[in-house]
C-alpha cells in the first residue's frame, strides 16, 4: 500500500492503495465516484473515460501512481448542477438509451470540444472512439454539434 494525493474535481483526496491500482477503481471503490464506468478494462470501450487536465484518458488503464499532480475531472465534477453545455446538449438531444456508456462519451466529447470548438463530422469520427452498445451514435453526433453551437465555455 502507498499513499497518493489526488486532485479530482477541484478537490484534494488522499488514498491508500496499491500503486498499480487503476484510477478507475480508486474512483469507484475508494472515493465512491461511481459515475465513471467499467466496461472492458483494456482501454477499448471508453466507459471509464475521465479528463486528465483537458485530455480524455481511459482510467481503467491508468495506474494511480501515474496520476501525480495532474488534474482529474470525472462526470461528477464536470459542472456544479449538471448544466455544462455538453450535458445540456445530451439532454436536449435525448441521447441515452441504457445510459451506461454516456459519462464516458460526454467526457470524450468535452475533450474534443476543448481542442476543436467547431468539430466536423470527421473530427467527431476520429475523436469519439467510445463504444455505445445501444447504438446512440447518431444522437451523440447531434449532441456534439449542438454543444458546439452553444459555444461558450466548454
Amino acid at each position: 500500500m502507498a499513499s497518493f494525493n489526488l486532485q479530482i474535481n477541484n478537490r484534494q483526496y488522499t488514498v491508500d492503495v496499491e500503486p498499480d491500482t487503476p484510477l478507475l477503481w480508486v474512483l469507484r471503490d475508494e472515493l465512491n465516484l461511481v459515475g465513471t464506468k467499467y466496461g472492458c478494462g483494456i482501454a477499448q470501450c471508453g466507459a471509464c473515460t475521465v479528463l486528465m487536465n483537458d485530455n480524455a484518458v481511459r482510467s481503467c488503464s491508468l495506474p494511480v501512481s501515474a496520476v501525480g499532480n495532474n488534474k482529474i475531472t470525472t462526470i461528477e465534477g464536470l459542472s456544479e448542477n449538471g448544466d455544462h453545455p455538453v450535458q445540456q446538449a445530451w439532454d436536449e438531444a435525448d441521447v441515452p438509451q441504457c445510459g451506461y456508456c454516456q459519462s464516458g462519451q460526454i467526457l470524450s466529447a468535452v475533450a474534443l470540444l476543448k481542442r476543436k470548438p467547431q468539430p466536423t463530422d470527421e473530427d467527431i469520427n476520429a475523436a469519439m472512439t467510445n463504444i455505445c452498445r445501444c447504438g446512440t451514435y447518431i444522437r451523440i453526433r447531434k449532441a456534439i454539434h449542438l454543444a458546439a453551437q452553444k459555444g461558450g465555455k466548454v
Partner: protein, 704 residues
C-alpha cells in the same frame, strides 16, 4: 372497499426498497418536500401512483429499464389519463412485487404492449376519484368538472383545486371498477417527444446501475470460472491469493472459485493469483466442427418439416430454373455495456438482492430455490440496466451472487470482468440457411425450400415467415445442432439471423426475375390475399411500411455514387421496412443513410421510439459488419472488445430517418423489430454497389 390511501411512512419504505437502499426515492421526495411528515395520508388508489397533499405526483415504473425506455413510456401512459403536468411528476422504479404489478419482466418487446390498458386505467381511476372528490367538495355535479394539468376545474364557476388538495377526500372514496379512457385525439402526452426520465441522473453520473451498489461491509467479489465449455474445476490452491492485501475470503461454489476482497482491484489480483486445475467434463468443441456439421445438415432432409404447403420438392424438380443460396451467421455475445454483476446479502434464512435482471419473478424463484429458502424471504431491487439484449433473461448472475454470499456469510457485490462475460454467456446461436427457389415457366416463384440449422437452438428458423403463405409449394426444415455451448435469446431471437438470409434471398430472386425489389415484395403481398396455408402477418400494415420506406428514400431514383438496398420484416407484431444508401470505395463501405418506416400501432414516446429504431438498426448493422465469436476447444477466442469488435462512431451512418405510420391501434413491440431487417438492407445495397452478394456475416471491414 379497496384501500385508496397509504401513509408516507409506508411509501418511503417501499420506495427505499426499490432504490436498493440508495435512498433514491427518499432523496427525491425529501428535496421536493422540505418537511416530511411520516404519518401523512397519501392518495394511492392503486400501486401505480401516489399523490401527496402538496400535489406531488409519484408514478411507478414497474418493469426493469434496460435501455428500452420503459421507465419513461409507462409513466407517460399513467400521466396521460391522470391529466397531470409531465414536468411535475416524479418517476420511481417500482420495487419487485408481482402481487401488485403482475408480470414485471423486460423482454420480447412486450412491456408497453402488455400494460397499454392497465396503466392507462390506473391513471384514469385516480383522475375519476379526484373529480368525484372535487364535485363533492363544491356540491356540484361531476359532469360540470374537468381536469387539466393536475387540477380539477369546475367549468361554470371557474373554481379549481389542485390534486393535492383533494387527496384526503379522494382517499376515502370507493375505487371505481369501470372508467372511461381518453379518445386518442385528446392525447397531450402519449405520442409526443418526451426525454428519458433518467437523463439528468445519467449525465451527472448518479449511482443508477447495479454495479454502483455500495453497502456497509460489502465485499467486492470476482470469480474464477472454467476456461472453456466442457471443463470443470478439479482443485484450487488459494495460498497466494490469501496473501494479496485486501483479500478477505476465498470460497468455492460448484465450478467457480470466488475471491472476496475490500476492493475490486484486490479481488482481481487475488483471482489472478489463484492456482486452479481443470478437468474435462465433456466435449471441447471448436467452431470449424460446428461449420462442418452445419454443412451436412443443410443437405439433409428433415423427417418432419416445420411447415409444408404443397410439394416444394416437386416444384424444384420441375422448375425452369432453381435459385440456390446458403447464408451463414456466427455466434454472438450479448455484451451489454455493463458487465454481469449482482449484489447479494444472504443471512439468517433471508436474502436481499439488488441487480440487473430482465425477469425479476423468475430470478426470485431461482434464488430461493438455490438457497433453499421460501420465496417470500427474498427481496429484490431493480436498478437501471447498462443494457441487456436478452443476457439477463437468465438469473445465473443473481444465483451465483446469492450462493457466494450465503457460503461466505458476507454481503457481496459480484462482478464479472468483460472476459468472464464473453466466456460465460449463453450466446446467439450460429446458424446456416440453405434456400432454394423454383422459378416456373411464367417467371413466377412457385416453390420455396429452406433447410435451416442452428447451434443448440429450439428454433433455427421461423416456419411461418413471409413469404410462407404466398408460395404454393413451400417447405421449411429445421435442424438443431446439439452442443454444450450454451445459447439463448439475443435481441430479436432467430429473427436477427433469419431476416438477413431471407431478405437477401428475396433480393436475389427479384434480381434474377429482373423485378424491382420493392415491386416484387408488393406483388408477393398481393398474393397473400388468397394464401396457401395460414399467414401470420397483416397485409395492409406490411404494405404500409414498404410503401412508406420507398417513398421516404425516393426509391427508384439513383443518386450518383450511391446505391440503395431494401428489406422489410415483421416481428413482435411490428412491421419495419428499411432502405440503406451506401457507397463502396476501394473495398471500404460507407453507409450514408438508412430510412426506416415503422408500423408499431400507437407510438407512446416519439423520442424514445425513434431512439429504439435507430439503436436497433445500428445494433443489427454493427454486428453484421464486425462481430463474431468463435470457439477453440470450448474456449472463446474473442474475449474482449479488441477482438470481439462492435460498431463505433466512424461506421455509424450519420443519419437514420425514422417515420412511423400514424396509428391509434394498441402499441406493438419496439425494442427489437428494427434490428432484423438492417443487415439485409445494407447487404442488398452493397450488392447494388458492387455486384457481389454477401452471404456470410460478419462481412468485415474490407469488402472483397
Amino acid at each position: 372497499m379497496k384501500q385508496a390511501s397509504l401513509s408516507r411512512r409506508n411509501f418511503l419504505r417501499v420506495t427505499t426498497l426499490a432504490g436498493g437502499g440508495m435512498m433514491l426515492g427518499f432523496e427525491m421526495l425529501a428535496k421536493a418536500l422540505p418537511e416530511t411528515v411520516a404519518d401523512e395520508v397519501l392518495f394511492s388508489p392503486n400501486a401505480y401512483l401516489v399523490i401527496d397533499p402538496k400535489g406531488i405526483v409519484t408514478l411507478m415504473a414497474p418493469n426493469p429499464e434496460i435501455g428500452q425506455g420503459v421507465k419513461t413510456a409507462l409513466p407517460m401512459l399513467l400521466a396521460e389519463e391522470l391529466d397531470v403536468d409531465w414536468q411535475k411528476v416524479v418517476v420511481q422504479q417500482a420495487p419487485f412485487d408481482d402481487s401488485k404489478f403482475g408480470n414485471q419482466s423486460a423482454g420480447g418487446s412486450g412491456a408497453v404492449r402488455g400494460r397499454w390498458e392497465s396503466a392507462r386505467k390506473a391513471g384514469a381511476v385516480a383522475r375519476q376519484m379526484l373529480v368525484t372528490a372535487a364535485a363533492q367538495t363544491w356540491s356540484v355535479p361531476e359532469s360540470e368538472c374537468y381536469t387539466e394539468n393536475g387540477f380539477v376545474i369546475h367549468k361554470p364557476s371557474g373554481k379549481k383545486l389542485h390534486y393535492g388538495q383533494l387527496t384526503e377526500k379522494a382517499a376515502l372514496l370507493p375505487v371505481p371498477e369501470d372508467v372511461k379512457l381518453k379518445d386518442p385525439k385528446d392525447f397531450t402526452i402519449i405520442g409526443k417527444r418526451v426525454r428519458n426520465v433518467d437523463n439528468k441522473a445519467i449525465i451527472t453520473g448518479k449511482p443508477l446501475f447495479g454495479i454502483d451498489t455500495r453497502r456497509e461491509g460489502m465485499l467486492f467479489t470476482m470469480v474464477k470460472r472454467p476456461p472453456a465449455f466442457g471443463k470443470k474445476l478439479k482443485s484450487y490452491d488459494d495460498s497466494a491469493t490469501l496473501k494479496v492485501p485486501g483479500v478477505k475470503k476465498v470460497v468455492r461454489w460448484k465450478d467457480v472459485v470466488a475471491v472476496l476482497a475490500t476492493s475490486t482491484w484486490a479481488a482481481k489480483k487475488g483471482r489472478d493469483a489463484l492456482k486452479t486445475e481443470w478437468e474435462d467434463a465433456g466435449p471441447l468443441e471448436s467452431t470449424p466442427d460446428h461449420d462442418a456439421a452445419f454443412r451436412k445438415l443443410i443437405y439433409t432432409e428433415a423427417e418432419k418439416p416445420v411447415r409444408e404447403d404443397g410439394d416444394a420438392k416437386k416444384a424444384l424438380a420441375n422448375a425452369k430454373k432453381v435459385l440456390e443460396s446458403v447464408y451463414e451467421v456466427p455466434v454472438l455475445s450479448h455484451a451489454p455495456m455493463e458487465p454481469i454483476n449482482f449484489f447479494a446479502d444472504v443471512r439468517d434464512g433471508k436474502a436481499e438482492l439488488y441487480g440487473p435482471t430482465q425477469v425479476p419473478g423468475r430470478c426470485r424463484t431461482d434464488v430461493a430455490k438455490a438457497l433453499g429458502i421460501p420465496e417470500e424471504n427474498v427481496t429484490l431491487g431493480l436498478p437501471r440496466h447498462g443494457g441487456a439484449f436478452g443476457r439477463k433473461l437468465r438469473s445465473d448472475n443473481a444465483v451465483e451472487a446469492a450462493m457466494i454470499s450465503s457460503i461466505a456469510q458476507a454481503p457481496v457485490q459480484l462482478l464479472w470482468t468483460r472476459e468472464d462475460d464473453m466466456q460465460g454467456d449463453f450466446y446467439r446461436p450460429s446458424s446456416v440457411f440453405r434456400y432454394r427457389a423454383a422459378i416456373d415457366e411464367n417467371n413466377e416463384v412457385n416453390g420455396w425450400y429452406l433447410i435451416a440449422a442452428a447451434l443448440n437452438s429450439g428454433r433455427p428458423s421461423i416456419a411461418d415467415n413471409f413469404p410462407a403463405g404466398v408460395i404454393p409449394n413451400y417447405r421449411n426444415d429445421a435442424h438443431n445442432l446439439q452442443s454444450n455451448i450454451p445459447t439463448g435469446p439475443w435481441r430479436a431471437p432467430t429473427h436477427n439471423a433469419v431476416a438477413f438470409a431471407e431478405q437477401c434471398f428475396l433480393d436475389e430472386i427479384a434480381y434474377e426475375l429482373k423485378k424491382d425489389p420493392v415491386a416484387f415484395r408488393l406483388e408477393l403481398l398481393e398474393k397473400a390475399k388468397t394464401p396457401y396455408g395460414n399467414i401470420n402477418f397483416n397485409i395492409p400494415r406490411f404494405r404500409s411500411v414498404i410503401e412508406l420506406a420507398a417513398k421516404m428514400s425516393n426509391w427508384g431514383v439513383q443518386t450518383p455514387g450511391r446505391y440503395k438496398g431494401f428489406a422489410a420484416y415483421f416481428s413482435f407484431h411490428t412491421y419495419v421496412a428499411e432502405v440503406a444508401e451506401v457507397s463502396v470505395e476501394k473495398g471500404k463501405l460507407k453507409v450514408h443513410k438508412i430510412y426506416a418506416a415503422v408500423h408499431c400501432g400507437q407510438v407512446v414516446n416519439l423520442s424514445g421510439a425513434e431512439n429504439q429504431v435507430q439503436g436497433g438498426i445500428l445494433d443489427g448493422l454493427g454486428h453484421a459488419w464486425h462481430s463474431a465469436l468463435t470457439f477453440d476447444k470450448g474456449a472463446v477466442k474473442e474475449n474482449n472488445f479488441h477482438t470481439y469488435k462492435l460498431m463505433r462512431m466512424d461506421d455509424a451512418p450519420p443519419e437514420v430517418e425514422v417515420q412511423f405510420v400514424p396509428s391509434n391501434d394498441p402499441p406493438t413491440g419496439l425494442g427489437e423489430p428494427a434490428l432484423p431487417p438492417a443487415p439485409a438492407a445494407v447487404c442488398n445495397a452493397i450488392f447494388a454497389a458492387t455486384g457481389k452478394r454477401i452471404r456470410k456475416l460478419p462481412f468485415g471491414p474490407e469488402l472483397a
